[in-house]
């Protein structure tokens, strides 16, 4: 049994399991509600229940006063849902967020091609147009696999009659094995979309740095396509990190863009360049390439990070060392089903 939780003022709708707390559901969906103690004692995570029935859980009478209970307040860390619910939380509205509604789609696979030995491009064509923000992702249902899998959309939002996905075959992964080995052109796939808070904050008009690892290129591709298409005037720099030369894809595409647009720079980097490979570009981890390119100084930029957790962490450290902080760093971590809950974090950072 699940309930729909609508979060105002941002209008995000989440699916919440029975017994799952509001805070847990929000944090898992990448929505930060301020919190501290996580067990009903401190009242940092207070929210207002605007509609629906909730169980206030084990909220301390000192953290949630009687008059607040009467006013419909709840502590997100211990509050669970008993119906579909609308809450209002202390979340800042994001000028660049479009708050698009999530819908279910069914589409037909019209293209499967190999980008590299273990990455495929999968195009799903749609009968009705899809609305998403560049950088957002879908939850794809895969036949015979329990639960859904998240994939970022790689194409320009304007081209709304299809979506393009980049799928790496995860060792031992059931979902990606199906997509690589069984899925064929002409099959139908269903998914829901759009999800996520990973989109460009162009209203701030800052130069942008994109750091992508492997198939983490998908979101940045959509974002950069759109920025260039709209004539964004600030500098845009894309770093794409892969292991070896054979793992690079879209190289020609981005090189062509770099030639066409003066404000766009494309820098691929190989972490395991082999002797004898025909490569005169950047060698080393992708964040190291970014440090070299910017002489270690990132202040005044905005950074968008997309890829596996170790790459994101290394990039965050490099950016912060170069004086760029949480307010200007946005990231989308690629967790596979096997990564689980992640490690223990302090409340020092909210989003990164």
């Amino acid at each position: 049994m699940t309930y729909a939780l609508t979060i105002e003022p941002i209008g995000e709708v989440l699916e919440v399991e029975e017994g799952q707390t509001i805070l847990d559901a929000c944090l898992r969906a990448g929505i930060y509600i301020p919190y501290q103690c996580n067990h009903g004692l401190c009242s940092t995570c207070k929210v207002e229940v605007v509609e629906g029935d909730v169980d206030l859980g084990d909220a301390s009478p000192f953290a949630l006063m009687d008059f607040e209970r009467d006013e419909g307040k709840a502590l997100a860390c211990v509050c669970t849902l008993q119906s579909d619910v609308v809450i209002e939380a202390d979340i800042e509205e994001d000028e660049d967020a479009e708050y698009l509604p999530i819908k279910d789609y069914v589409g037909q696979v019209t293209e499967i091609t190999d980008f590299t030995a273990d990455i495929k491009k999968i195009v799903i064509s749609l009968k009705e147009d899809i609305k998403f923000q560049a950088g957002q992702y879908i939850q794809l249902a895969i036949p015979g696999v329990e639960g859904s899998r998240a994939f970022s959309i790689a194409n320009l939002p304007k081209k709304a009659d299809h979506i393009e996905l980049h799928v790496r075959k995860v060792a031992g992964g059931l979902g990606t094995a199906y997509l690589h080995d069984i899925l064929t052109e002409g099959d139908d796939l269903s998914f829901s979309a759009p999800y996520g808070q990973f989109f460009v904050r162009k209203s701030q008009h800052k130069p942008m740095i994109f750091i992508a690892g492997g198939t983490g290129l998908s979101s940045p591709k959509s974002m950069i396509d759109e920025l260039l298409d709209e004539g964004y005037s600030q500098e845009i720099t894309l770093f794409h990190g892969v292991r070896a030369k054979a793992d690079i894809y879209y190289q020609d595409y981005f090189q062509a863009l770099a030639e066409k647009y003066e404000n766009f720079t494309y820098i691929p980097a190989l972490s395991e360049n082999k002797q004898g490979d025909d490569w005169d570009g950047e060698v080393g981890f992708v964040h190291e390439a970014a440090v070299r390119h910017f002489n270690g100084s990132f202040a005044g930029h905005q950074a968008y990070l997309c890829g596996p957790p170790p790459m994101i962490e290394a990039a965050i450290r490099a950016l912060m060392k170069g004086r760029l902080f949480e307010n200007d760093i946005y990231c989308e971590k690629f967790l596979s089903k096997a990564d689980g809950g992640g490690d223990k974090r302090s409340p020092l950072f909210k989003r990164i």
């Binding site: 003022p9 940092t44 009478p61 008059f67 965050i316 912060m320 302090s346």
Partner: protein, 505 residues
Amino acid sequence: MSGKRKSKLGIKQRYSMLTRGLGWDTTYQDMDKVFPYDNYEGIIIHDWDGWEDPFRLTMDAYWKFQSEKEKKLYAVIDSFAQNNGHLGITDARYVNALKLFLTGVSPLEYQAARGFTHVGRQFRGVGPRVACQMQAIDELRHVQTQIHSMSHYNKYFDGLHSAPHMHDRVWYLSVPKSFFDDARTAGPFEFLTSISFAFEYVLTNLLFVPFMSGAAFNGDMATVTFGFSAQSDEARHMTLGLEVIKFMLEQDERNIPIVQRWMDKWFWRGTRMLALVAMMMDYMLPKRVMSWREAWDIYFTEAGGALFADLARYGIKPPKYADIATKEAEHISHQAWHIFYNYTHAAAFHTWVPEKDELDWLSEKYPNTFDKYYRPRLEYLDKEEKAGRRFYNDTLPMLCQVCQIPMGFTDMDDPTTISFEVSEYNGDKYHTCSLGCRDIFDYEPAKYVQAWLPVHQIYQGNCGGAEVPDVLKWYNFNLGADNLEYNGSPDQKLWDEWQAHRKKA
């Protein structure tokens, strides 16, 4: 849902209108003259508006919340008193933890109120100023409610009658007092690093939680309820601690080494003060919550580890000597209890040798150290006491120049050798108990040579007289009641009478 009015201000905007909107830049006087303290520590702030308000509570909302908290708390305190709640505690020995808390910790809340009032005036940024002013009022509320929560015990038990007086004079209470004196006499940013960050964030779970869970485990409803009431404020204090650190680290990279030095210093000062909590947890609670070692693992090694892993992104390293502090977790409670067992004739609470099942519990919780170093000593002291030779140490101990704890702690790799360090300043020698305290001394010797060291003061004749009883009278002790061994104390007699009555009934 429908009809959402977009015109309503968000929480952040509302808060900003009601706080920051009230500040202004002075014109008749230079801002540097109006706020002379917020840059002399070397902390460079480029943009005070870069301060993210850690909580958004306006004054009118604050009064409303706090008054309801008070109503609830005082209802519990009243019913506790009316129902003779003191009869429901596990054992009278428990009250000694309250004595330590009331004389050692509650006055710190008042010190915090003074400190936050001071720095709440000194920041030119409106954000931190408002946050500090609000915390100052919280702290005043905490000291008041703590005194009221525990005052019921003062009707029946000894040693609870003169907490503020004792805090200013008694030798072991100079440990927490000097901690806060050191913080309050530092600059405003160091004060926030020491109190809001090191004390309220990193170490609070090792100070506050043990006392409050100790109260819960030992049937002390009044103190537990105070704890809940305060904890809803503490969350604000913790977020202030994190925000000030982020603010300093993000404003200018030249702030990083200063912040690192303060973290090293205040971590060490904090762990030294926690020795008092460690012995409280392991020795003074008749019904134990967890061992000090376990608390350290959970709250410092794990939670602190996650924090410092995140801080590493700023280039901040874990506090210097954290490895030594973790080794100390195996020893410190036993060594501290032993010091107090030695000097309990000069303390306003009782000590005792734990009973056999309690010793067994310690053996189980400290398999690496207790049986080897500490149990035999306690069993010897127990035998001596039973034979009518209760040991009291009649010489005055040497104190660490920085933390002011008697120099009884050992080298952690060699637990039978006393640890001490020597520094020289202006031709005089100064002694510290550890590398951590020595570093603190060496960085600011001119500050620490001024320390009011209780033992020195006694020898200089500033503490009521030349004999120990003179000094204890100057402390306001009721001799023979507040001090000495628990066995045979008036507290114990009274408790045993109550228990006997209860059996009869």
